[in-house]
Amino acid sequence: MTDRVSTSDSGAGSLPGRLVAMVEALRGHGMVVGTSETVDAAQVMGVLTLADRDLLREGLAAALIRRTGQRRVFDAVFDVYFPAAVGARTSVREDGADDGTASPTARPRGVDDVRDDLVEALAQGGREALEDVAAAAVDALGAIQAGSGPGAAGAGWSARQTLEQLRPQTAIVRALAQRGSTAGFGERLDRDEVRRDVERFRELVQTEASRRTAEVRGRDRVAKYAVRPDASQVEFLAASREQVLELRRTVQPLARRLATRLSARRRRRNRGQVDIRRTLRRSMSYGGVPLNPVFEHRRKARPELVLLCDTSGSVAGFAGFTMLLVQALRDQFSKVRVFAFVNHTDEVTELVTGGEADPAALAERIAANANVAPWHASSDYGRALRSFVTRYGAVIGPRTSVLILGDARANHLDPDLDALRDIVGRARRTFWLNPEHESRWGLGDSVAPAYAQIVDMHECRTVDQLSGVVGRLLPV
């Protein structure tokens, strides 16, 4: 627990210099860190000593972080700029044997030795033991020798190489056997915990590898590339599987924030008649003269929302996320209906709402139960829009807002602009949310510019942009 922060290495220079460099890196990852925060952080470093790295981490986090989701980025950047040690770790924890014999890195190690250590650590289930194994693993297995030997440009430490050789998932079964858990309930809990520890181990290896690499290649470079971006800044189209899972976890909190924003806007707009009782009560402040009339809130019919989503492979992640988000927001609207299409439109409201709300299987449920691609598997916007108008045209009324989701890549087929014009003409408002970067609209088979002339098209590459669009545009 009491690693000293190593300040002995050359490079980033003085401590204030390093702090500023770290702040720069945080800004590079989209965190808003002002000068006053940096000054706070410097004060924190003055109050806390550098002797305890964990305390320093918490202290700097208190000063530099401004909202909940930023912690992961902060931790990763902190590890690069304030590493636990320099070079291979030789420190032994707790037992205090500094003769070096007990050190895990003292003797050369093979894959099997490291895996044995990992099994041991998993069986005991302690975080510090895992950290030691991660350090040893990277040291033994992660070195990349580029050019002429260690230290040369291009050399570094690879987490991927380490994990591929070590294959930590193979340790699960052995660790479970060593735990000797009783069959049944306890065993299932054990399995769950060991799996989580393996995930944690992977992260630790990642941290260790980027720490070692930072020494070879310079911190700024590593901080720029090795830190995974915050979930709200991940592009929908480029999201990996884990990122999609992470995104899904942000749906509920995001929906709650959006709901507050929408209802605040609704409140401000719905000014009605004078509320006599409250006006009189307030007039007491002015000796009975009603200077400040209080208005009643007028209850207005809530708007209806129709969501029309392209669920073909390329944009399915974006469509799925938005469907879940809109579903979570459903009490903000009087009616929400969701339609999906690839080259034919079908209603999927039931599937999205469905009692067994398992978001992971949403895409499969749509593919299995809805008729979205009767002929072939590639998207056809013209046909899909036309089938929406003919089958569900009556759904759209003067109170309906329509959100169309898709990349507008029509596979060189007829875009059928008239069908879209028809939808726009009937609805109160229509928006098109496009997960592609605006600069790519119109390239290749994209018909985005043509559609954009008819309908309000917005770029929606990240959760941040999506929540901005939803919170700002939707009528209340």
Partner: protein
């Protein structure tokens, strides 16, 4: 500068004496808030002890707790101060023969000022702890009011001038993040995100709150709760639910956790029916039913 705590360990010890077991990050941030004289903005899931932290700090430092509970529509008159109009009217009518100047100077004095929580904390003779609870529930305009209080520990009453705090109160703001707080407010505070505690800390919390629970039961209870937190639930069980569950198990006289006990008491931990269903599936409680 006020120094309520000597070191980070001192914070941990003093809070523990009040029955609040602080994680290192909580202790460090409380210590810094004290040293840097900055308010503390606490965010985190419901039921991890955000409000409890303020209470524990108040008790540990022996400072009175002044609490402002925010809600939609809380205004200046509820948060800062209000003139006691009725009393002012009485004063005016009772002093018939007086000149206008005398009356005017008299009715805008302390006697007619009703101090609301923020003013109370600022004017308090003794050191105080100010808790601004669920600040995200309040309207955006209130944040503007808070800025002066939080950065200078001062309140300006137009008729009286600026009142500055005798002792800067230890200030804690809590938020459930239903709304984005403004940057200006965030910048004035140290930020603390309290998450679900590490398993061994949670175990200690459960044992200290529910003294009758033995070690093995507490351990397995915390393990089940942690397993549940890892799956996608609408409302993950928090520390207060763990404590409730421990109490329930104690009341039922359960000595160890097995499928049947967990199955019967899952309703204490989870508040939504589909959460219960998902948890049963994850822990494979259904299969156990079949086997029995």
């Amino acid at each position: 500068m006020s120094e309520r705590f000597a070191s980070v360990e001192d914070v941990t010890d003093q809070l523990a004496a009040q029955g609040y077991l602080a994680s290192p990050s909580v202790a460090t941030t409380v210590f810094l808030a004290d040293r840097l004289d900055k308010p503390l903005l606490v965010e985190g899931p419901a039921g991890v002890g955000k409000t409890e932290l303020a209470r524990a700090v108040a008790q540990a430092t022996g400072a009175g707790l002044v609490r402002l509970q925010c809600y939609e529509g809380v205004d200046e008159a509820r948060a800062l101060y209000e003139w006691n109009h009725a009393k002012q009217l009485l004063r005016i009518t009772s002093g018939r023969g007086e000149t206008w100047d005398a009356t005017r100077d008299d009715i805008f004095t302390d006697e007619f000022l009703l101090a609301r929580p923020l003013l109370q904390a600022i004017r308090s003779e003794d050191p105080s702890t100010l808790l601004i609870d669920e600040v995200d529930k309040a309207d955006l305009e209130i944040e503007g009011l808070l800025l002066e209080v939080l950065s200078d520990y001062a309140i300006t009453v137009p008729e009286l001038g600026t009142l500055t705090a005798r002792h800067a109160p230890f200030t804690v703001l809590t938020s459930n993040a239903t709304r984005e707080l403004s940057e200006a407010l965030r910048r004035r505070c140290l930020f603390l995100h309290i998450d679900f505690p590490e398993p061994d800390l949670e175990e200690r919390i459960v044992r200290s709150r529910v003294p009758g629970v033995d070690d093995t039961l507490a351990t397995s209870l915390v393990r089940v709760v942690n397993a549940l937190r890892r799956i996608d639930l609408r409302k993950a069980p928090s520390v207060s639910e763990s404590i409730d569950w421990a109490r329930t198990l104690l009341a039922l006289g359960a000595e160890s956790l097995d499928e049947a006990v967990v199955d019967e008491t899952l309703g204490v931990l989870l508040k939504h029916t589909d959460d219960v269903a998902r948890a049963r599936k994850h822990l494979q409680l259904d299969e156990a039913d079949v086997r029995r």
